[in-house]
């Protein structure tokens, strides 16, 4: 595998000119970005800038019409989420998608699914039959792996202090919103990710919860985890990021160090329009647009 070196950095995740069109609307227009190992890159932009569409393209939910996505030198454009997971790409979701009726522990255990030896795909049909038999008869190797996995999951949960540890057998839907987001991150860590893609990790959180989440992400960064972050809260982005990319109208309008971007007139204009230049207005929450059902006479 070749590792492209750009400016002396070891690039792990490399996105070249990806484009996605919906019926004439270009939601993402030739956006490029790269994330080096151990770096935290953030994507910001006003509502409707195409951040979520871009993230869907990078995480395999959607397929770009144009452009290339490389992970560790391998072309992974249009790979399904499960294949990306197998390569060590973990993600969280915007509003925190945990498995509501599964216990906290099971949620975290599921995060490790992609790297389980006893759940390896194997040959079509034969692999599935083998996996069923392994689950049924649980030979010692499988039991050892499951036990090791449990120990590891408990360790991950312990990172969150007393937030999750007393609740490992509770169903995830019974947790508070902030705790559900923590479960999501714990689940992502169980994948032993090579890159963690965070989609608005603090959406809907209050000040203290946001501060706690910031601490946690900083800790992950100190551990050397590569991060790609999509976020609305500029404070958080400025504190975490090594590199910031600003999207507006599907295009990249600026990028650079957090401080450079913060004072870029194009960014200020995109965020605030012409009227109140300079102010750091809080950004409105994302509006969920429902697709209308058809009923025309």
């Amino acid at each position: 595998m070749n590792h492209p070196e750009v400016g002396g950095k070891d690039i792990l995740f490399d996105v070249r000119r990806v484009t996605r069109r919906f019926d004439g609307l270009t939601a993402v227009d030739g956006v490029s970005l790269s994330v080096a190992r151990g770096e935290c890159v953030s994507v910001i932009g006003p509502n409707g800038a195409g951040k979520s569409t871009l993230f869907n393209l990078l995480t395999g939910i959607d397929v770009p019409d144009d452009g290339i996505v490389r992970f560790d030198g391998e072309d992974v454009t249009g790979f399904s989420p499960e294949r990306l997971a197998a390569r060590g790409v973990a993600r969280t979701f915007q509003h925190g998608r945990v498995f509501g009726n599964l216990s906290v522990l099971d949620n975290v255990l599921l995060g490790a699914h992609a790297r389980l030896a006893f759940a390896r795909p194997g040959w079509p049909v034969v692999g599935a039959v083998a996996e069923t038999l392994r689950a049924l008869f649980a030979p010692p190797a499988v039991r050892r792996e499951e036990a090791a996995l449990r120990a590891e999951a408990l360790q991950i949960i312990a990172r969150f202090g007393m937030r999750l540890a007393p609740r490992i057998d509770e169903p995830a839907h019974s947790l508070s919103y902030a705790n559900r987001r923590r479960v999501e991150i714990a689940r992502a860590l169980a994948l032993r990710p090579r890159i963690l893609v965070l989609d608005e990790p603090t959406a809907g959180m209050n000040e203290s919860e946001t501060a706690e989440m910031l601490e946690l992400i900083l800790e992950l960064k100190r551990d050397g985890l590569t991060l790609l972050l999509i976020e609305h809260k500029l404070e958080l982005v400025m504190k975490l990021s090594d590199h910031v990319i600003v999207l507006d109208d599907g295009r990249k309008i600026a990028e650079g160090l957090p401080d450079e971007v913060r004072h870029d007139p194009a960014v200020i204009e995109a965020y605030l329009g012409h009227r109140q230049v300079g102010a750091q207005a809080p950004l409105e929450p994302q509006v969920v647009v429902r697709s209308p059902e058809r009923l025309t006479p």
């Binding site: 945990v98 992609a114 795909p121 649980a138 169903p171």
Partner: protein, 607 residues
């Protein structure tokens, strides 16, 4: 050539009748996101109201038509009140299950009142015909065409130009916004149900006149056809539903012309599957965009499952095994044995519908495949049941999984409709594949149960054998649920997008669940075949599928113990109280309705 013109005209007339059904379904889906499975029963009731007016009361045809529309509109209002309004906060599948319950109740009531036999519906129309281009049209054909076109016109004017019509369209677009703008959504729903059911009833009377026959069981078929037409047109799309109905009518008509009458339904359901797999959004929308996911969400409550302590379970199992030593009545043992067989079906469905969240409405087809596999292997090749029963299980696992494989990419209600269609297709293939399955005659003289030369002739021996199979398979299922497979299956049920992001391949795990479920259900069907000694394509029909779902919901979706308890409660209990056996379907319908309304988590809660 002229014959083809005839078939075309015939197809369009039948399509017109389907359209009256499908338009109603589309309107209801539009405002309430519900596929009204009671629609066919309303259609049946319409046929009987018209029959009453025409024969018993001797009313003229226009009055009979009006009475039918009025009566069915009232029924529609009632269905909305019972099946939809109280369930507004519940899971999306809840109202659908409620309408299935209502349809059971209506069908059974009609059967109690009018008897099960078909009745002729005299047409009071003048006897004239005319010919265009070789096709002969009768006065009834013209009437049906006129009513179809007339109804479409009135509906167009209503939706486009009346206040209530605007309210209907606004509700369909965005229910919450409409409510905030002062639209009384309940009134809109009620109006839509009234209109839809009025049209459905009209369709029932016209069909009765067209084929000169109505019977209380005609509704289910009509629901299925209406749903097929609805899907072809795109859910909730009214003009689409009309186009879909005409297309369905034509395809059926040409299919009958080419292959014969018994293939009519097969064409309808194959068309359904083709559309579900290739154009799930219907005729008129582009393929690339995924369905807007209108009906996802399993029927699961957030309440904790009841954990049965292990000693209680062991005592219950020991008691079940000890029962034949205490009770000498072979009758009681037989009905319990039947309960264990249905328990195998319920185990299979609770895995697929409860644990993996794929609400299958065609699960009885697995019993049918297992029964036929074992019966044919034993009758045609002469193998012992000890060999054919496990083989039948494997064949069912394989065939069942292959058959539903194309439906794995679907979600929510689409899965239910697809499995319903696949279930019907299995029955119809068995009916039509004379060379292998002996067609409508069925298979007779199937060897009785025997294990390696030891015949299980007494009721006791059969009871123990069936119970042992059930207990072993149930324990295996519990073991699977406790392994990593259990959490993976549940994760797919909870959120398949998130599961995929962590490396779970949903198709693989759905296939594993269907294969495990197919194995159990296939073994159950195989045992039943040897026990009954006679089977045909209707031994396990779609009613059994719905019954299985009722058992599973009664026990608690995903609960292994619940599935067995549900099966025994619904199969064996009505038999024990003889009087209840007659009203069996009525009881199932009412049980389903009450469960959905008052205890959606079932007896033991969802696991």
């Amino acid at each position: 050539m002229t014959a083809w013109f005839d078939y075309t005209v015939n197809g369009l007339i039948v399509g017109n009748i389907y359209a009256l059904l499908a338009v109603g379904l589309a309107l209801i889906f539009g405002v309430s996101h519900l596929i009204n499975f009671a629609h066919g029963s309303v259609y049946m009731v319409g046929g009987f109201i018209g029959w009453l007016c025409l024969t018993r009361l001797g009313l003229p045809l226009p009055v009979a038509l009006l009475a039918t529309v009025g009566g069915c509109a009232l029924l529609g209002v009632l269905i909305e009140r019972i099946g939809l309004r109280p369930l507004q906060g519940a899971a999306r599948i809840a109202p659908l299950l409620a309408t299935i319950g209502i349809s059971f109740v209506l069908d059974q009531l009609a059967q109690i009142v009018f008897g099960p036999d078909p009745r002729p519906v005299p047409s009071t129309l003048p006897e004239w015909t005319f010919t265009i281009g070789g096709a002969t049209l009768g006065s009834l054909d013209v009437l049906i065409a006129a009513i179809g076109i007339g109804a479409a016109g009135v509906l167009y004017v209503f939706l486009r130009f009346t206040r209530l019509g605007w309210a209907v369209r606004a509700t369909a677009q965005d229910r919450d916004a409409a409510q905030q703008m002062g639209v009384n959504v309940n009134a809109v729903n009620q109006a839509v149900f009234a209109i839809a059911c009025g049209l459905g009833g009209l369709s029932g009377l016209l069909v009765g006149m067209y084929y000169n026959s109505i019977d209380p069981a005609m509704g289910f078929e009509a629901t299925l056809k209406g749903v097929v037409a609805l899907l072809i047109g795109g859910l909730g799309n009214v003009p689409g539903a009309i186009a879909g109905s005409l297309l369905l009518g034509l395809v059926e008509s040409y299919g009958v012309a080419l292959f014969g009458t018994s293939y009519r339904d097969l064409f309808a359901f194959v068309l359904l599957l083709v559309f579900l797999v290739w154009r799930p959004n219907g005729l008129f929308s582009s393929n690339r965009r995924l369905p807007p996911e209108p009906l996802t969400g399993t029927f699961l409550s957030n309440r904790r499952a009841v954990r049965i302590p292990q000693p209680v379970l062991i005592v219950a199992i020991v008691a079940a095994f000890a029962l034949p030593l205490l009770v000498s009545s072979p009758y009681l043992l037989q009905i319990l044995t039947n309960g264990w067989i249905y328990g195998l079906l319920a185990l299979s469905l609770t895995l697929v519908a409860g644990t993996v969240g794929q609400i299958s409405l065609g699960h009885a087809a697995l019993l049918l495949i297992g029964a036929y596999a074992s019966a044919l292997l034993s009758v045609d090749i002469g193998w012992s049941p000890a060999v054919t029963i496990p083989l039948a299980g494997l064949i069912t696992a394989l065939l069942g999984t292959l058959l539903v494989y194309p439906a794995f990419r679907l979600r929510g209600h689409y899965v239910s409709i697809a499995t319903l269609g696949i279930g019907e297709i299995v029955g119809l293939v068995i009916l039509n594949w004379d060379g292998l399955t002996r067609g409508p005659v069925g298979i007779t003289g199937i060897a009785p149960l025997a294990l390696f030369g030891w015949p299980l002739s007494s009721a006791r021996a059969v009871y123990w054998f069936t119970l042992a199979v059930l207990v072993v398979l149930a324990l295996l299922q519990v073991r699977l649920l406790r392994s990593h497979l259990g959490r993976t299956w549940r994760a797919i049920r909870e959120d398949d997008v998130a599961a995929r992001a962590y490396g779970v391949r949903p198709n693989r795990y759905k296939a594993m669940a269907f294969a495990c479920g197919g194995l159990g259900a296939g073994i159950g069907g195989a045992i039943a075949a040897h026990l009954y000694s006679y089977i045909n394509y209707q031994t396990f029909d779609s009613q059994v599928s719905i019954l299985a779902l009722t058992m599973v919901i009664l026990g608690g979706l995903g609960s292994v113990a619940g599935a067995v308890v549900g099966a025994v409660a619904l199969i064996s209990l009505p038999e024990m109280f003889r009087f209840a056996a007659e009203y069996r379907m009525l009881i199932y319908g009412v049980v389903l309705l009450l469960l959905v309304r008052f205890r959606p988590q079932g007896l033991f809660g969802t696991a």
